[in-house]
């Protein structure tokens, strides 16, 4: 793969029907960049989460709107921007600080942005309500992420797997 930046664009209607097209698109590019299966999965899930947010929140469920996924790939990193032209939001107010507290509240949603932040190397927001809202996800192509080493099944939160009852 040349060192020049390669650019891709995918636009679909803002409907959950097409999340698999989006995951495949991003997955194929990430794989062609040399990311290990493990990292391809992380990138796919992050992009799915960002697009699910556009479908659910940006246009309040209206289906005649678009999701735009821009991908830029070079020798160093993969950058995916998910763009909507909906109502926008305040990303800093959506932070999940304490996962333990979160789980104890049995909340049903609010995990998408948290997941994205855990899975990607960098996450940026550019919010201009009803003009253009962009979430930019960055993953670096370092050795670790392209080697495809198998991690242990050890919790990164270092807790026992089975809950005592």
């Amino acid at each position: 793969m040349a060192t020049k930046t390669k650019k891709f664009l995918l636009v679909t209607p803002s409907e959950s029907d097409f999340l698999d097209i989006i995951r495949d698109f991003v997955g194929k590019i990430a794989r062609s960049a040399g990311f290990s299966d493990d990292y391809v999965s992380k990138i796919q899930l992050s992009v799915d989460e960002a697009c699910t947010n556009v479908i659910r929140h940006a246009y309040l469920g209206m289906k005649q709107k678009d999701i735009e996924i821009r991908v830029e790939l070079n020798a160093k990193k993969l950058v995916v921007s998910v763009v909507d032209r909906g109502r926008g939001f305040k990303p800093e107010s959506k932070h999940v600080d304490d996962m333990e507290a979160y789980l104890s509240e049995y909340r049903k949603g609010g995990l998408g942005l948290h997941l994205i932040k855990l899975l990607m190397d960098e996450v940026q927001f550019s919010i201009h309500p009803n003009k253009m809202n962009i979430i930019t996800l960055v993953k670096y192509l370092d050795d670790k992420q392209t080697l495809g080493t198998k991690r242990n099944r050890k919790s990164i939160l270092e807790k026992p797997h089975a809950r005592k009852r």
């Binding site: 899930l45 799915d48 699910t52 479908i55 995990l111 997941l115 099944r153 919790s155 089975a162 809950r163």
Partner: protein, 118 residues
């Protein structure tokens, strides 16, 4: 469209939901429907067998969160089994193993329900 299906199997008091395919925002309602059905029927001892679950996003995780409180309040539980490494990683990343019982094989989950009964 994401491919996904749920197959239900009842064994005495226990119900097993076998998930197959991709559980995302598009398919989560179908899983939710299956869980709701069990709760409506008063069947609270639930095993979700993830053997064929290829993918899960937070929309799928949200379905588990939406029913666990109700199920436990009725002396039941939602236990998960046969999760692939890939799917487990996501549950693990979010700390779900501290809230849910995740076992290797469906049989173990059955045993755990039975031990409570005896």
């Amino acid at each position: 469209m994401s491919e996904f299906s749920v197959h239900r199997k009842d064994m005495d008091e226990i119900s097993v939901l076998n998930l197959d395919g991709y559980l995302d925002a598009h398919t989560a309602p179908s899983f939710e429907e299956s869980l709701k059905q069990l709760v409506d029927e008063g069947r609270f001892k639930i095993i979700v067998n993830c053997d064929k679950l290829a993918y899960i996003s937070s929309a799928g995780l949200g379905v588990f969160m939406g029913y666990i409180e109700d199920v436990r309040a009725n002396n039941g539980d939602i236990k998960m089994s046969n999760m692939s490494e890939k799917v487990f990683k996501i549950f693990d990343l979010l700390g779900f193993p501290s809230l849910y019982e995740i076992v290797d094989e469906e049989g173990e989950a059955v045993d755990k329900f039975s031990n409570i009964n005896s």
